[in-house]
């Protein structure tokens, strides 16, 4: 009798274990990134990237009905919203590619240039330039009224030349 009871208890506990493990999260397409980014010594941002605040002076200014509002500032990254009549129409950013070196690969096949710097289109909303092989300047449309040619024009309004000299 005791044997049967022991067996039942063991069976019950095993079933519980199986059931709880089945209730775990399904595999995700982001499991790889999760595993790599939590391994020992992994970081998304490196010490020698520029401070985000050092990028602010290279952004285009507000004016002519456009407002530029800074929204994020982290090591190697600065981001601003571009608004017209209070409506967000685009996101402007500068990032230090030292934090994510793989990002420069896409410029190898680039044939377009903005103010002499290689430019690429990304997806249906983004256009970016690589400045001095070190800084990525990107504009993303947040409203369909802000077209690809608007993005190219506004990328030209950044002080790209000045940024290329930032050491």
């Amino acid at each position: 009798m005791i044997g049967l009871r022991k067996f039942l208890v063991a069976f019950f506990l095993t079933s519980c274990l199986l059931l709880t493990s089945c209730a775990q999260q399904a595999p995700s397409r982001f499991d790889g990134a999760q595993q790599e980014s939590t391994s020992k010594g992994a970081t998304a941002v490196v010490d020698n990237s520029q401070s985000g605040g050092s990028f602010n002076r290279y952004f285009p200014d507000s004016g002519n009905g456009y407002d530029r509002i800074y929204s994020q500032e982290k090591k190697g990254f600065a981001q601003a919203k571009l608004k017209k009549d209070g409506q967000e129409i685009a996101i402007l950013s500068i990032s230090d590619v030292l934090n994510n070196t793989i990002t420069v690969d896409k410029y190898q096949s680039s044939t377009d240039k903005i103010n002499g710097f290689p430019a690429v289109a990304q997806g249906s909303t983004a256009t970016a330039v690589l400045v001095g092989d070190r800084y990525q300047v990107k504009i993303r449309s947040k409203d369909s009224s802000f077209s690809e040619s608007d993005r190219e024009e506004w990328l030209g309004k950044f002080d790209l030349r000045g940024l290329s000299k930032l050491k």
Binding site: R29, A33, A42, V45, S71, Q79, S93, S95, T125, S141
Partner: protein, 296 residues
């Protein structure tokens, strides 16, 4: 508890007491909040992109950024989770009692909650506000005690962030403390000392993240934060013509209760919902995705 950002966003409920409560406040901030759940779905919504390879790159970078502790995202998530102490069983029990689209707040459900005394409620409101300020700075990268930057950014709040602030004003301010909730909170803050703060359970949970050094310094920081944000809050209340009666009418869209039980309604919502964690997760995911797309 999930550790990865994609699980946290994937696990956000589509419908529960929290979303019902937030939906009931929709006409206060019309169209601002949409309950976007699921990590990939959020990437699509935030970026407007549907190329699978691009979505993968954005998601991967977001996962990396979230897991780098130096970037502040995990601390912000912890703050949003910790300041909401939720009794999940109460929420489940309440939903089980639903009649039609409403939950009758009577009998057994009411005996399971205890209204906060005014002083504790005023402190909870102030601490939640400071948590928002600190989390904002962790997410957006402005130094942790920059109250001025936060106040400037408040006027630019939209979407789920504005809904979170609207809910704070309504269910942690107007309903439990009444129309003069700002005055009550202010007089509470100026009348208490470090010992009172130390005995507040919400403070105890999050104190390590509040700037100011010792408890006295933290109390000062809470007071200064409240002082600088109260103007925004009173403008918000005035511009939306908010009063306890109006908020009560909104809440009666999903709860059934009698008018003399407002303090119990506040306690019930406090215990059964986690609107800070829910909308905080959505805010954090949005900001993370916006940065990730810029960096790839």
């Amino acid at each position: 508890m999930s550790d990865s950002i994609f699980e946290l966003v994937d696990n956000l409920p589509e419908k529960n007491l929290t979303t019902m409560m937030l939906n009931s406040l929709d006409n206060i901030v019309p169209g601002e909040w949409e309950n976007t759940v699921g990590f990939v779905n959020t990437i699509r919504k935030v970026t407007g992109e549907d190329d699978e390879d691009l979505i993968q790159q954005i998601g991967d970078r977001a996962v990396w950024l979230y897991n780098d502790k130096s970037q502040g995202y995990r601390r912000a998530m912890w703050l949003y989770q910790t300041v909401d102490r939720t009794d999940k069983a109460l929420g489940t029990a309440a939903l089980a009692n639903k009649v039609g689209n409403k939950i009758p707040l009577v009998g057994g459900l009411l005996t399971r909650v205890t209204p906060n005394p005014d002083k504790a409620q005023a402190l909870d409101l102030s601490i939640k506000l400071v948590v928002e300020l600190v989390a904002f700075c962790q997410i957006n990268g402005i130094p942790g005690d920059s109250i001025g930057d936060f106040v400037g950014a408040l006027s630019d709040y939209s979407g789920e962030s504005l809904m979170r602030m609207a809910a704070l004003v309504c269910v942690d301010g107007l309903i439990p403390l009444g129309p003069d909730f700002l005055l009550k909170a202010q007089s509470t803050l100026s009348g208490i000392g470090p010992k009172d703060l130390e005995s507040n359970s919400t403070f105890k949970e999050v104190e390590e993240s509040i700037p100011g050094g010792n408890t006295k310094g933290k109390l000062d920081f809470i007071g200064e934060s409240f002082d600088s944000v109260k103007g925004w809050m009173s403008d918000f209340v005035a511009s939306k013509n908010l009063d306890p009666q109006k908020v009560m009418n909104n809440l009666q869209g999903f709860l059934e209760f009698s008018d003399n039980k407002l303090d119990y309604v506040a306690a019930f919502i406090d215990m059964s919902t986690n609107y800070y964690e829910h909308t905080g997760t959505q805010t954090l995911a949005r900001r993370l995705i916006e940065r990730a797309f810029d960096e790839i």
